[in-house]
Amino acid sequence: MISCSSDDSVSPGLSTLPEVALDRHYQAIFEAAEKSCGAPRVYRHRLLSEAHDLLALCQLSGRLQVLWLDLAVGLRAKLSLEVPVPCLPDPVGPLQVARCALLGLLYPQEAIVMPLPGHAFVRILAPRPVWLGCVGPDANQMVCLGPSLPPGIPVIEIVLMTYGALSMQSTLINVHDPAGVANAEAAVWWQCPANACRIPLSREPFLRDEVPHVP
């Protein structure tokens, strides 16, 4: 087990999440979720591992918080993610950038064995209305992370992809892309040079002590 105290010789990172020892707060969340886990045996171990890694990521990053976690049917979590989120409440008004997103994460147990559409996993519960090509304009604000995601994709991958999508570190604004966009109007808006110059909204890596990749 790797603890997260600063005097440790091994620096915990994304590759060592399964070995991270959860602190008391996150351990309590994990144990409560474990008790309610209703998945069949074949999926149970995997869902618990995913829940552990998600909580470990919260513990390491400081920018992610699990507000609620339920394993009764698949994995369902309400997350608070510190990330710039572009919003356009007034279509002709200025862009507003929120500093935090409240995310609804759904990870059905079928995702372990089957590819699911990229919009099946994450909803933005707040703020509203998010103004991005990859976020649906309706009340559900589904985040589209691609045409489909591979079976067994780890939950933390989905969280990292969501961070990249919201901060526009990875973005899709081409409405003619075969993958399609969830909000064509927003995609066109971001193509305008005056707006495109704001991309990305943040260059900060997910883990703050990570060295940003410079091509």
Partner: protein, 383 residues
Amino acid sequence: MPLVGCAAGALGSLAKRRVAVIGCGSVGGRVALLASRMGLGGLVLVDPKRLKAGGLATHDMGPEDVGKPKALVTARRCSRINPAMQVLAFVQAVEALELSVLAGVDLVVMAPDLLAVEIEVGQRCIWLSKPLVHASVHGPTLTAQVRFFLNAKGAGGCPACGYGKAEQDLMTRQVRFSCEGAAGAVVPLPDTVPATNSVSPLCAQAAALAVMQAIRFLVPVGQPVADTMLEYCGFTHRTVVSPITRNPNCMLDHNAIVQVALDPPLGDLSLAQVAQQATGAPPSADARFELEGLQWVELASCRCPEPRPVRRFVARGRKRLPCCRKCSAPLVPLNFYTYPQVSASVLGSAAERPLRDLGARGLTSLLLRTGDAGVLIRQSTPH
């Protein structure tokens, strides 16, 4: 027609049998037509797709059917062949099919073009302990393959038991094993390689073998077909039969569910009462309920700043609910707070209320799951 080794009129027993065919394409469509001619009592057809022009090379359908849903085209032909047979056609993905539909058949035949569908059907048949026949072809080697999974108490093999890394990769890329294109007349879609590119006689052969295996099981007649793989080679006309075994590391849940029929109208009972009557015990903390055609909506959105509580079952796919009393705007169920399977912990005190008060008045079946165990609860008589 008398069959050697069988009682007179043995084939007549098929009139009491119901078969589901998943995938009504080059192979599955022919399976349905052949099954209709065998005097089955009922046929359930499932296919979400429409016939494309390129499909005429292999499908047993005509140019007049191009653009029409394959399930409907096949259903109409089957009904004309055997007017006494009840035919139900579902133009939808098998994932959206209620479990109770397959619970009512004696055998399932599948001939899909996606591995993900194989997995979905395989999983459902394991849960329901339904015999499953999987018919497929491989064009370049002129091979027709028919696998018969008995699914007796989840003990035997399943379609996913033989999956390895290659199948995982094909599934990730959602490769379609389309029979179209053998004539070279169609432009291949992305990720259709390696397509089966089969020829029509091979598809017909696979369908005929699949129906023959189904008859041998249903009558029953001949050598047992349970948990076997039959392969036919078009180059040599040789057939090889080999056993199918369970892979202990299979990715699917190999636990069968129990089926229970309850007499009182389900709408008059609460979910706690349903669980008590079906299992003899109140629902445990990890119990989950899946109601046929319904989903639990916890919160919905309107023009109000905060989401509004709904806490009712509503029809799946319903996009709008009655208007909000505060802002008069239609309530839109929020996807994150909508539960196709709802746990006892989310239901809370609603588990004690009669289902009719929760929007599930005419409910006819529901699935109760607790850990590895599952119970499909159906209304025994219509009220």
